[in-house]
């Protein structure tokens, strides 16, 4: 039997990183190491601001932020150790990953997320992706976007959906309600960054919708979790709509608070137009809170085409919020179990393993 292959992972961030992509990389590499499909993984991150613990079979080199320094360090890592598989965690790094793959006679896996593939990338990035042995996409929409500009065999482009962490479970959210002094109100929640360059997450739409509902006498509170410079604009928007005391910006919160905030909400709503997948939908539903999004892009996958959450058109958002708030909150345990069955750790690990088998069998 051949020894298990070794992997070099080029990532923006993974262990010790913040945000969705870092989380995905941790989930992916962790699942891979756990299955034993690879014998070792060397992770090369560009940043790692937080403390971290590494799983077995994984080592992570010190972060190198600068692009040139990073490239040299990655090449050096590749030259001095065996590399059978190169995992490229972001399209921007694909040319470097393709070069290393070439030099080492290795196989290339490119991970795609969302917004970075909506439009045709540079010539180099496209050529590098087309040279990949496997392209992984978090959603059907991401896959479709990749295939719209890449001339690559569609069989090499697989969907491995995001997964939801174990920490998100149903439970009591009353402490959070008390802390925010919003007992008795109907609580809407969005968890997303507020980046002024993106502005696709849909906070604006929710604020517009609640100003209408409040006018009609609904006792609503809209809780917004996440950080970003666009917050100032959104605060002004809430003021102009006359609902500033009903919109609560909490900024960035710790994991434990986040879990409780998800639990206390009556409805998670994120009418985002350009979601690669939208892992926050899963976190909400795993915490027992129903989720509402737009039936566009990756959100359709996270909401499982309406099987787990609710996906509607932009025009239907206000009435759907009203309808879902009017209904009693569904059984949190059942919703959480359904989400876990479809997007839980085990399903994710099986998906990662099946995808990797494509490459490993072929070697």
């Amino acid at each position: 039997m051949k020894p298990s292959p070794t992997m070099l992972a080029l990532v923006t961030d993974a262990f010790g990183g913040r945000g969705g992509i870092a989380q995905y990389n941790r989930d992916f590499l962790g699942a891979l190491a756990e299955t034993g499909a690879v014998s070792s993984i060397t992770v090369r991150p560009r940043q790692a601001p937080d403390l971290f613990v590494l799983p077995e079979r994984i080592e992570q080199t010190p972060a190198r932020l600068g692009w040139i320094g990073y490239s040299i360090a990655a090449l050096r890592t590749a030259l001095f150790r065996p590399v059978d598989l190169v995992f490229c965690g972001h399209l921007f790094m694909a040319p470097l990953a393709a070069l290393i793959t070439r030099l080492k006679g290795a196989k290339l896996i490119v991970q795609t997320h969302g917004i970075e593939v909506w439009r045709r990338p540079s010539w180099f990035q496209r050529a590098a992706l087309e040279a990949a042995d496997l392209v992984l996409c978090v959603s059907r929409h991401t896959r479709s976007a990749v295939l719209s500009w890449a001339a690559i065999a569609p069989e090499r482009v697989l969907v491995v959906p995001d997964t939801v962490r174990e920490a998100f479970t149903p439970g009591d959210g009353s402490t959070q309600r008390a802390a925010l002094a919003i007992e008795g109100k109907r609580v809407l929640l969005t968890v997303a960054r507020m980046d002024p360059r993106e502005r696709y997450k849909g906070h604006d739409r929710v604020i517009a919708a609640i100003s209408n509902l409040v006018a009609k006498g609904h006792d609503i509170c809209y809780v917004v979790v996440g950080e970003g410079a666009d917050r100032i604009r959104l605060e002004a928007l809430a003021r102009d709509a006359g609902v500033s005391e009903r919109v609560r910006f909490l900024g960035r919160v710790g994991l434990q608070s986040l879990v409780e905030i998800y639990r206390m909400a009556d409805l998670f709503v994120m009418p985002s137009t350009e979601e690669g997948f939208g892992v926050a939908f899963l976190e909400a539903m795993a915490s027992g809170t129903p989720a509402l999004g737009l039936e566009v892009a990756g959100a359709r996958d996270a909401l499982a085409d309406g099987a787990l959450g609710t996906a509607v058109s932009e025009a239907e958002i206000p009435v759907t919020i009203a309808r879902l708030l009017a209904e009693p909150k569904p059984d949190p345990g059942a919703l959480a179990a359904a989400v876990r069955g479809r997007f839980g750790r085990e399903t994710f690990a099986a998906g990662v393993r099946a995808a990797l088998n494509r490459l490993i069998e072929g070697t």
Binding site: R140, P154, R156, A354
Partner: protein, 554 residues
């Protein structure tokens, strides 16, 4: 159909002609049959041989077998691609069907365009596999199998290759004197196999050599009652262009019952919307097959033999002469880097009207340095450099990048069949016949619940003739075919067939296309330009029909 133990489930479109032998073999090995259907043989074969089963099949087929134990789906399509098989995969769900339309009708599949399919249609007049007009729908290529499991479909794997068969044949050539006997034995064997049926098998009969010889062989195979359908045109009645009298003469010779179906211009125009509706992927041809199938249906036939494939197999097309000639005459010049491009730009600038009316003449210097390019030139509806003028320039550029037409044509010639005749045979069989003629025969036949069988498109026959093909001189193949029946075809058929028959349908098509586009008529134009206009009408017509469908559906 499900296997006895419930492990395998099969869906099958096609005919397995060696079913009786397969059944005997399988039963000797202990398999128990519950039905008399060739479908059941597929289940036993798969259980026995796995994916290698495809090598044992003679026939036209597209099938899928679900393996409950391995939780996977096995798909296969016959070596020539007689039967179609389309798949769609969105990353979550894998779907398959015999028609693109069926996949679209199910909903859930994106209609985003595939530039390679659109460009391919403009280059060849039909959509080249594996592409379709839609990005999310692909054809499983002819002679390929595919495995689909929880992680999705794997890349299709080839199990047969026309070029390889011909290359092997070229390694063991037969003397020219033996060719007629090879052709006779091979064709008779294939016809015999293709007559396996529990319903009456009829034949499409033109005044050409292919169908006439097949009729004679059907007779030799022992079928007494034969009904032959000839499509003739009202406009040609009594003229030398009328095929009916000669076909009647062939029928008389072989004692077949002759049915002549006359087509008028009026009926053509009446049926045109239905034809466009029945067409699966756009095609610039298939109209004649539509009407002859309609006639067969009217006669109550469910199965008909067609002479399709004779020109590809036995060197019947002018391309068998043209391609080697163009390569000889222009190849050396075309090999000079940049000369072709320079000449095109120069003449395009100095005499623009010349490049408009004779677009291909200019391509000779650009494309004839290799076989793929020369073939593209010969068969091409438009040439790559003309595409930006007839379609969105961005789609043209992206489509060419994805389709890689020259590389694709060249790849079909691997391994090199090592003779000019065999090379043209491969190019015509693996492209024009596969993507155009066989597709047309499928939708036009299916629209009339008619199964069209093609004994001259048969891998067993190809293997038998492969050693003879390199030695075929112009006309020799058809002459040998004419002598295949014990009672040979009348000489006048062989002589007359050389000059060919006109069909008024191309003029009608042009009239219809002009009507649709509203363009004003210009006097006598090259035939190629007529096809170009028709292709645009078909593409627009297809789009129109789809819109109508959407309206109905909503």
């Amino acid at each position: 159909m499900t296997s006895g133990d419930g492990r395998f489930v099969v869906v099958f479109n096609g005919e397995i002609y060696n079913y009786p032998q397969l059944r005997t073999e399988l039963e000797t090995d202990g398999a128990g049959f519950c039905t008399t259907s060739d479908t059941e043989a597929l289940l036993h074969l798969y259980a026995h041989y796995g994916a290698d089963m495809v090598h044992r099949l003679r026939g036209m087929f597209a099938f899928a077998i679900w393996d409950q134990a391995r939780r996977g789906l096995f798909l296969a399509r016959d070596p020539y691609g007689i039967k179609p098989l389309y798949t769609a995969n969105d990353g979550w769900t894998f779907r398959f069907a015999s028609q693109v339309k069926a996949l679209l009708a199910g909903g859930h599949i994106s209609r985003d365009p595939e530039p390679a399919g659109i460009v391919g249609f403009h280059l060849f007049g039909s959509v080249p596999e594996p592409f379709t007009l839609y990005r999310d729908i692909r054809a499983l290529p002819a002679g390929h199998t595919q495995w689909v499991d929880a992680a999705g479909p794997r890349e299709p794997e080839p199990f047969s290759n026309i070029a390889e068969v011909l290359a092997k044949g070229a390694a063991n050539p037969v003397p020219a004197a033996e060719i007629p006997e090879r052709v006779r034995a091979g064709v008779l064997d294939s016809v015999r196999a293709h007559l396996l049926a529990d319903v009456e098998v009829g034949i499409f009969l033109s005044a050409g050599v292919d169908s006439g010889a097949l009729l004679g062989c059907i007779r030799d195979a022992g079928q007494r009652e034969i009904r032959a359908i000839t499509l003739a045109f009202e406009e040609f009645r009594g003229s030398s262009e009328d095929e009916a009298p000669l076909a009647a003469c062939v029928c008389e010779r072989y004692g077949a019952h002759h049915i002549v179906r006359r087509l008028s211009k009026q009926e053509f125009f009446e049926d045109l919307p239905t034809i466009m509706e029945a067409m699966d992927q756009p095609s610039i041809d298939g109209v004649n097959t539509w009407f002859v199938s309609k006639a067969a249906k009217e006669a109550g036939l469910k199965v008909a033999i067609s002479g399709l494939g004779g020109d590809e197999l036995l060197g019947g097309y002018p391309s068998f002469l043209d391609l080697p000639r163009w390569r000889r005459w222009f190849g050396p010049l075309a090999a000079v880097p940049g000369l072709g491009l320079f000449a095109r730009k120069l003449i395009g600038g100095v005499a623009p009207s010349f490049s408009r009316t004779r677009p291909k003449a200019l391509g000779v210097l650009e494309h004839s340095s290799n076989w793929a390019g020369t073939y593209l030139l010969r068969r091409g509806l438009f040439l790559p450099n003309e595409l930006p003028e007839v379609m969105d320039a961005e789609i043209a550029r992206e489509g060419l990048r994805r389709l890689k037409p020259l590389r694709r044509l060249a790849a079909s010639l691997m391994p090199d069949p090592s003779s000019d005749v065999a090379r043209v045979c491969v190019l015509e069989s693996a492209h024009y016949m596969r993507n155009q003629l066989l597709r047309d025969a499928d939708w036009a036949g299916m629209a009339h619940s008619l199964e069209i069988r093609v004994p001259l498109v048969d891998f067993t026959l190809l293997r038998a003739l492969a050693p003879a093909i390199p030695a075929l001189t112009p006309g020799a193949g058809k002459a040998a075919l004419a002598k295949a029946p014990t009672v040979p075809l009348p000489d006048e058929i062989v002589t007359r067939a050389k000059t060919g028959f006109g069909v008024p349908t191309s003029a009608w098509m042009d009239a219809a296309a002009r009507d649709g586009s509203g363009s004003t008529g210009r006097a006598a134009e090259a035939k190629g330009l007529v096809s170009r206009r028709w292709s645009q009408a078909v593409l627009n017509g297809a789009v129109l029909t789809k819109r109508q469908l959407e309206v109905h559906a909503s």
